[in-house]
């Protein structure tokens, strides 16, 4: 975390076309390893952006930084126009305190590769935990909201089951409902089908398809399923070495990739599948 005041970044983004998410010259390092290298990335409100790329290219790191699971070394991330992990102070931007971070974090929801449901709570308790104890909703209202969402992901009949009684696909659908119950503006999906058996991948991708079709959520998704990415994305970003090597509409990026690395990656993926 940069301790000094940042003075060459705006305190807030203003104007008609403020993106929902903006990475502005974001750098992330682990020791000597630079994982994100001065990354610039905008995601518009309601846009579905898919991140693809080889292992280690920094895809997960992008999502984890947005979820504030990782600290930022350089640059600023803006969510809905406001800096995510910085706040105004000292005539510029300074690292945010916990209160500010909690407020900003409420904008973001995340689904993980390994679901990370709370094993000692039933499906509906998983969904209600945040609305009741973070948002302060009355129990009845939180229950109604959770039931609606479980219904939407097709898990209403399993609401009183513990995760250990659910298949991977079912757990992931509950995890999606749990994240949505917090009403985030931005949803993050990190390889949410990678840990699933092939025959249940469809039940999870169908839920995400519905979200894209019926809701105006801003979404960032990391996936290795190129067909799925092509179907539902507004834009696809190909990551390589902590930078965006190429990005564009799915039909362009998959149909007519311009950069050699993109071509190599896509043909390697095609061969493997």
């Amino acid at each position: 975390m940069t301790k000094e005041t940042l003075s060459d970044f705006p305190l807030e983004l203003e104007g008609a076309d403020v993106p929902m998410v903006r990475f502005s010259k974001v750098t992330k390092r682990y020791g000597d390893l630079t994982v994100l290298d001065s990354l610039d990335l905008d995601v518009a409100e309601g846009e579905m952006v898919t991140i693809i790329g080889p292992s280690g290219s920094g895809k997960t790191t992008v999502l984890r930084m947005l979820m504030t699971l990782e600290t930022i070394n350089e640059g600023v991330i803006y969510v809905d126009g406001k800096p995510l992990t910085h706040m105004p102070g000292n005539g510029g931007l300074v690292p945010a305190d916990n209160r500010y971070l909690r407020k900003m974090r409420a904008n973001i929801g995340m689904c993980f590769q390994h679901f990370n449901l709370f094993p000692h709570m039933t499906a509906i308790e998983n969904c209600m935990e945040g609305p009741v104890h973070v948002l302060g909703l009355p129990k009845r209202e939180a229950r109604e909201r959770s039931e609606e969402l479980l219904e939407m992901v097709g898990m209403a009949d399993k609401r009183d089951q513990h995760p250990s009684r659910l298949s991977g696909g079912q757990q992931q659908r509950v995890a999606i409902a749990r994240a949505l119950a917090m009403r985030p503006k931005v949803m993050l999906f990190d390889e949410v089908t990678s840990a699933l058996d092939p025959e249940v991948i469809g039940e999870v991708t169908n839920v995400i398809r519905r979200l894209v079709a019926e809701h105006n959520l801003t979404m960032l998704m990391v996936t290795h399923q190129m067909g799925f990415a092509k179907d539902i994305s507004d834009r696809v970003c190909f990551f390589f070495g902590g930078r965006i090597e190429e990005q564009g509409k799915p039909e362009d990026l998959f149909g007519n990739p311009q950069r050699e690395r993109t071509q190599q990656f896509l043909s390697a993926v095609k061969e493997a599948s």
């Binding site: 979820m67 709370f118 000692h120």
Partner: protein, 222 residues
């Protein structure tokens, strides 16, 4: 050689059973202190404050590598030199509670570390407060793997209560010694003490296993 006197046995039995109540109270109170203080010691090692982690770590190591009897003597006899004068019971509970807190903190530490990193990350992603994360998400999951160790130390603290006799706490061992020196008969009182300890330890250990399975069921984790 075997000169067991039943009339004497029945004569001293009520007195020993009364002392058993004291032993159970000492074990119970000491354990209650250890359960709570142990959690404090475990959580204190997980704060971002390096100096605190280090100090608590050293304290735990120190307590675990010195004998309980010494700690009991220390609290009881050295305390007054610093103006801290404690009744035998108080001193005994502090010493044994602290001693077992150090061991229990290690059990908790293992339990806490066994909770997958993803549980912390999901809690943060849901914006749960740190207190809520600990008490509702992490500790309930750390509990089942800690119960076996906690149970062992419950039996352990019970078996260590005789050490409190050295500062005059009137528990079982102390009473048996008193009977011995009054009547010059040691066979019956010591045998009875052994039988009483056995009669409590064995069912307790079995109950702990039942309890452990029950907790896992309650948490939906089996």
């Amino acid at each position: 050689m075997f000169d067991w006197r039943w009339d004497f046995t029945f004569e001293i039995l009520p007195r020993l059973l009364l002392a058993t109540v004291n032993t159970l109270m000492a074990a119970g109170a000491g354990y209650a202190i250890a359960v709570v203080l142990g959690l404090v010691l475990a959580l204190a090692q997980r704060t971002p404050y390096r100096a605190l982690t280090y100090a608590v770590r050293e304290l735990v190591e120190f307590i675990r590598s010195t004998p309980l009897v010494l700690q009991i003597f220390f609290v009881f006899y050295v305390g007054p030199q610093f103006g801290i004068r404690l009744a035998p019971w108080t001193a005994g509970m502090i010493a044994i509670g602290l001693h077992y807190a150090a061991y229990l903190s290690e059990v908790y530490r293992g339990g806490l570390e066994s909770v997958p990193k993803g549980q912390w990350e999901a809690s943060l992603a849901l914006n749960l407060s740190p207190a809520r994360t600990y008490f509702r998400i992490i500790i309930p999951q750390a509990l089942p793997p800690s119960l076996a160790g906690m149970g062992n130390y419950l039996v352990g603290i019970f078996k260590d209560t005789p050490m409190l006799s050295v500062i005059g706490v009137a528990e079982l061992m102390h009473t048996a010694n008193a009977i011995g020196s009054e009547s010059y008969r040691f066979l019956e009182p010591y045998t009875l003490v052994g039988v009483i300890f056995l009669a409590i330890s064995l069912p307790t250990a079995a109950l702990i296993r039942v309890f452990e399975a029950w907790v896992r069921r309650q948490l939906g984790m089996s």
